[in-house]
Symmetry: none
């Protein structure tokens, strides 16, 4: 029995409310040794006061040293070990652009590339064509028809797009067509799972038609497909935890992952933290669990903009009283991974975490920050343990064993 | 997918340098409640200054309460879970005496014992004969010849020796011949793996000849063999981590374990920490990763010599600037296990650890010691997570998942 199965066995319903507030990429590292992180530099009187009456700690998203993408990072937050419950790359790409993926759809990531007269790849990213150039070619590819299945082609960014096949009897067990090097021709789609044999044939028909269409449109005169995948059919969050669960998020990727685990997706008017908290308030009675996702802590970190990231944190802090006014029984504040401005990318560093509940055990932490949370009563924990702790503090887990 | 496989999938090459400095058995416990450990008693201004600008913590070698031998202790340090990747006892014995074990060699630990006129064991350790007496008998056993295979017999210490068989078609799946009690006769070698059937027959031939030779040499007039094993063919460190890796060690066991995972072994002129750091300097450009092993912290601990152990630590500290001058991108200082003088043996106590890197998150630790490192930003970690963290801080791990 894995952890998720254990929790499912122990979970019960009651009238408590749990809020998981995720500041994407909130963790940082100092720009200079001894200096503050973004969170430590930000003025956060409300978060600090909350930390002072909460249990605090540091939490590792997936495993020490592992930098998670958004998919594994959020699965961990939702209590699904991402090494056990994987989401294919094609599915994540489709979710990331807000595509309404159906349970048996096969999704793949596509790259436009440049091939020479012999059909050998000379540039795997087609000279990083502008997004509108990619979108123009996607429009052309939408004319392709396959027997018995629907196809969807969606632009992503620059040379990237998503391909989705919808119909009966499809399967995701196909190898990438990207040879991962220049000087080689794109590979045909090959089924490594016998159940994907027909899917491979259909994909190859699609590629052949696409090749004819793109031939006259250099530098993006060919394409490769990667990460074929179907909805992994994860155990559903409301079933596992016996929680009516809703996601409050602005960006497609996070709504997509939440939908994949069976949460309802609430519509937010606006993009500010205060708008998201207002959405929460409007639906407060209808749900037991709210996943609230703040995106801009991550995007400012990826831009390497320390000040902007600190400012985003301050806007969350300023809006926080509206959330606290709802008096959730359990409130957890953390991130899905760190995004230090220093690195301009996701990182592996543990996240500060606070858990506020009547049943919480206090500690001496009086500020919400990476160093302040060291020595908190949650110690050093892992993200997959957040949901079990949340349920426990909501008194929603029965005793294990007699 | 286990952790090592995940790391192998994510690891990439770059130009960074990583140094893992292992003070064997460095962890201790106070002689008196409230007193210092050996590390805390030692004057270590360089290590303390390094700790003040590093991420610190405590690290458990294998699992709480588990006292590791050198084999499991070092496998953990190298990122191989020793409960998943085992090295047979015979192989460790051969490595410990510097025997140049080949991939298909079958190695066993041997004990001289005393048998009575009926062939029943009266002393399983032959009265702990002096090492030279053991060596004299080993010399006699070297005259034994087996059909189609080479045999090597090597003295270890007192009543202990190592036996190695080399040839085609051998296998390690044999039960011990030691009945583990007096009053019983040594057992014949029995194959529990059918592939080891011929090996069992050869070993029994060897034992029969050895019994005839030893009969006239009481008290060591018989022998038992234990821990038959072959090179476990571990995933190779340079392949897993994509690191050109070198070991700087003085004692055979540590060179042996490093060789078993595929590190190059560098020759050290002298035995002092400064000699080892000089070796590092000489080969700095040729490798990406250096495992540097300091032995005498352990041997002084095993002697129960608190002052001597503290002094060894001081010699490492004094030599440290030469290592720091090389400016490794990631420097980790810890031990493979604790060896408290109080216990005169290896122990299970977690080790202080420091990780120095530009990407490190600081903490309030300002000295390198068991108590000072509590509350450091590495928290309480495990040795198998050291390599993933080292690679992450060297920016040698790509993102996991999209």
């Amino acid at each position: 029995m894995n952890q998720l199965e254990l929790i499912q066995e122990l979970a019960i319903k009651n009238n408590t409310k749990i809020v998981l507030l995720v500041l994407d990429g909130v963790g940082g590292v100092p720009l200079q040794p001894g200096g503050p992180t973004e969170l430590e530099a930000a003025r956060t009187p409300n978060l600090d006061a909350l930390a002072a009456r909460s249990a605090c700690g540091l939490s590792t998203p997936v495993a020490p040293g592992i930098t998670p993408g958004s998919g594994p990072g959020h699965l961990s937050l939702f209590g699904y070990d991402p090494l056990q419950y994987e989401i294919g790359r094609g599915v994540l790409e489709a979710l990331g652009i807000g595509f309404d993926l159906q349970p048996n759809d096969v999704a793949a990531r596509g790259n436009f590339c440049t091939v020479d007269a012999q059909g050998l790849i000379t540039d795997r990213r087609a000279g990083r064509i502008p997004t509108q150039e990619g979108a123009r070619r996607v429009e052309l590819l939408r004319s392709i028809r396959l027997p018995g299945v629907q196809t969807f082609v969606e632009p992503v960014k620059e040379y990237r797009f998503a391909l989705v096949l919808r119909g009966e009897g499809l399967a995701g067990g196909l190898r990438d067509t990207d040879p991962q090097q220049t000087g080689a021709a794109p590979l045909p789609a090959v089924a490594y799972d016998p159940a994907a044999q027909r899917t491979a044939e259909l994909v190859n028909q699609w590629i052949a038609q696409a090749a004819r269409i793109l031939a006259g449109h250099p530098p993006a005169n060919m394409l490769t497909l990667r990460g074929f995948a179907v909805d992994p059919n994860l155990p559903k969050f409301p079933d596992v935890y016996k929680l009516r669960a809703a996601a409050v998020a602005v960006y497609p990727m996070y709504k997509g992952v939440a939908r994949l685990v069976g949460m309802d997706i609430l519509t937010v008017q606006g993009e500010a933290p205060s708008d998201e908290f207002e959405t929460l308030r409007q639906h407060w009675d209808a749900y037991d669990f709210f996943f609230v996702h703040i995106k801009k802590t991550d995007s400012t970190g990826e831009d390497g903009n320390f000040e902007a990231k600190a400012h985003v944190i301050e806007t969350v802090d300023a809006a926080l009283p509206a959330l606290l006014d709802l008096k959730p029984d359990v409130l957890i504040v953390t991130g899905d991974h760190s995004t230090p401005s220093l690195l301009k990318s996701h990182s592996w560093h543990p996240l500060p975490i606070l858990l506020s509940a009547r049943t919480g055990r206090g500690d001496r932490v009086t500020a919400f920050g990476e160093t302040a949370c060291l020595g908190g009563s949650l110690g050093h924990m892992r993200h997959v343990d957040i949901m079990p702790l949340a349920l426990a503090h909501a008194l929603r887990l029965t005793k294990y064993g007699a």
